[in-house]
Amino acid sequence: MMGTVERAWLEDALISLAERSGRVDHAVTEAAEGTLLPAIPAGLALVAIGGYGRRQLFPHSDVDLLLLSAGDRVGEKQQQAISEFLQRLWDGGMRVSQQVRTPEECLEVHDRNAELNISLLDQRFLTGDRALYAGLGQKFPRFVENHRDDLMRNLARLTRERHAKYAGTFYHLEPDVKETPGGLRDYQLVHWMAQLREADGARVAQPDAPAELRQAFRFLARLRWFLHRQSGRDNNRLTFEAQDAMGGSDAAAWMREYYRQARAVYRAAEERLENAEAQSSGLFAQFRDWRTRLSNRDFAVHRERVHFRSQHEMEQRPELMLEMFEFAGRHELKPSAEAAQQMAARLKALREYFEEPRTAWEALKRIFSTGHAPAAVRWMHETGVLTALFPELEGMECLVVRDFYHRYTVDEHTLVALENLWKANGGYGDLLREVEQPALLLFALLFHDAGKGRPGGAEAEEGHVAWSLRLADAAMRRVKMPEADRETVRFLIGHHLELSAAMRGRDLADPRSMEEVAHQVGTVERLKALTLVTYADISAVNPAAMTAWRAEQLWRLYLKVHHELTRELETERIAGAPVELLEGFPVRYLRTHTEAEIAEHVALEERSRGRGLVVEIERRESAWQLTAIARDRLGLFAVLAGTLAGFGMNILRAEAFSNRWGLVLDTLVFEDPNRTLELNPTEVDRLRVTAERALGGKLDVRDLLRNRPKPKPPSRKQRVGTRVRFDGEAGSTATLVEIVAADRPGLLYDLASAILAQGGNIEVVLTDTRAHQAIDVFYVTVGGRKLTGEQEAAMGEALRRACGE
């Protein structure tokens, strides 16, 4: 174990950097005079570069040395002298990192060795051929001035690559104080960018560090000095052990200070990087200027940043800050530094304002539903608005929880989880698009680990999940989230560890195990949401945590439980239901609908009683939904599919249930690709009335479809062949019919009509569209039974014809 740090020498660390450089200067000069210069009296100069050139040598950092040579050939005798010289330095305990270069090489842009160009910014003559060095010293500033953009671009690229290695965050549990974002390398970046910017042909300046970074530099420099001394080598990793030594009894509080300093450096570096990248791309500048047009009454967009139009308005109406993040999340535009400052000045007032219960959930939901919601939440976190709104999240800020697998602080883990959720692809991406309220997933993830900051931490009697629930409950009440949504969030937080536990500890091939998991989860919608939360949570533990193997395991678990929840497709019927409508529906209906939806269906059924049918159309989170209740008759589904196609709508998925009294409930979720309904609100009503007329037999759907424009057929390469497949085993009472065909408007209507013409009844429909390819799955019965071989053959033929084969 390491002892407590001796504060006294830490205070002297900065002086020590220069002192060590002085000592090394002395040693290098002496060694050169003893070995090198007698053998090569002219045509060779020794130049300190990099950290050594800046006179910032940490106890074990490399000594960067340039051997500036007049010619590019070095004779054998001279080579021997160089080896002897370097050996002497190594024997003196210095790790020399040397390069032999001609002045011409030092005046070229090295795209593949940008480090050389950058290290020369801090050059300092030591000894040797002074006239040779003078030539370089004179030309170098002009070189920098002429190639400023290239050098900046290379430096920015190197930095981005380094940041990417650390997942672009400074919130690491055991950061590298040199390389991690916000570390000493980023501090140098700010310095180098200033040097590049200010170089004027006559000299490369040594600009003063920005005032706000001086403190951070002292903090980080002392820390690195300590780490070198403590480990006896060039070790820059701030291990848990080192944190204990620095922070004493309260290492967590000390780490918060570290993150505060790293954040200051990171922000400054990020700003310099963005400026450099913007300058080096003409295309980007054009794009940026184009984006200025996004400005509106409340917000101005300038150089990819959002500004408040009126500070006064912002002070009067605190909600405007939330609207700022909605705007930012919609257009992926970061709030400007000025806007961040204005908000920072209002945080106290904001907190007081939102301490009172207010209907903030609607505004939050809009932020959480934007295309770049995770980025918006990150900006809310960075500006302090998130904790002003939800003081419940303060406990997890910069919180280090020590274990073997977590890489980030709790708040960063949370933000990464949100980002990973949004980036989910493959099956998980599909699931996310199917989830009704992604905003609730984000909210649940935001609070899922909030309880880790509870008093007593891991030692506390109450587990972190229970505490997270308590914090989320208070927050949800205050923002007036509807009770049904709160219930969903409570479920997701309360069960957020269960699927990963099931992945590890349950036999996925054992039906009874899967039945138990299905029982815990309850409904398909919840299973989808919980699978996504689990996916996001695991993949935010560290960048390598979500291996392909684990993603596959989780997906298998999802499939098994999904199958378990939906397998009673037709067999089990609801009996003795408290509500008449539900009597005789398949049990699956209960599994796939929330209580709120069931209540809506019951209310709808009451409305249908007068005319015997009713159609309702409403906007869902990302799509529209048509719900119809009518007396069952053949072809009901085809009529609805045809009506929607006639209005240019794209059907995403559909379901049909019939009850004991011959009443049918059809729901069709659809997209409005041309935004017809959104831009012409009266069309919603026209669509509803048309659907009702079609259902009532007062209108022929074929007339609606006749005027639809024909889509452009896909190129030959993309053309998909029609595939019709029957599966008698997939459902217990219905035959599964899967059709893969080239998509076109009205296809679903034609397919449904073809099934109808063959005497088939559609029990369930699941549809999906990929590029120009439609994948439609029907569960079909004829006379209440599965299809016979002959019926399959005839229906297959009819379906292929409907696809245009």
Binding site: R504, L508, R550, H563, D727, V777
Partner: protein, 112 residues
């Protein structure tokens, strides 16, 4: 010394680890793998579409133990990993010629 390599069901890992640790085996390497033996793959249906699951997720455990401990370790491992159903996995045992602890050059059983 013997090297024991076992392919087991993922959900049995915790039980197997506990059983081995109780026997005094605490050094082991664990890998997430995919494969199939006689169990072969199978088909799964999701939203009417079939997914072929050819290679099933499994866990591979590798350890080297002193020869005297090998039988006991194999018995303990098998008992913990067994469900009695197809897909429980397999155990392979190899002779080990030498073991070296890199840090201090310990050899043989002392290096384990």
């Amino acid at each position: 010394m013997k090297k024991i390599e076992a392919i087991i069901q993922p959900f049995k890992l915790d039980e197997v680890k506990t059983a081995l640790e109780a026997l005094g085996v605490d050094g082991m390497t664990i890998t997430e793998v995919r494969g199939h033996g006689r169990q072969k793959g199978h088909k799964e249906v999701y939203r009417g579409q079939e997914y072929n699951v050819d290679l099933l997720p499994k866990i591979k455990i590798e350890m080297v133990v002193p020869s005297g401990l090998a039988d006991e370790a194999i018995r303990g491992l098998a008992a913990a990993a067994r469900t009695g159903k197809i897909g429980d996995g397999k155990i392979f045992v190899y002779e080990v010629v030498e073991a070296v602890r890199i840090r201090n050059d310990d050899r043989g059983d002392a290096a384990l």
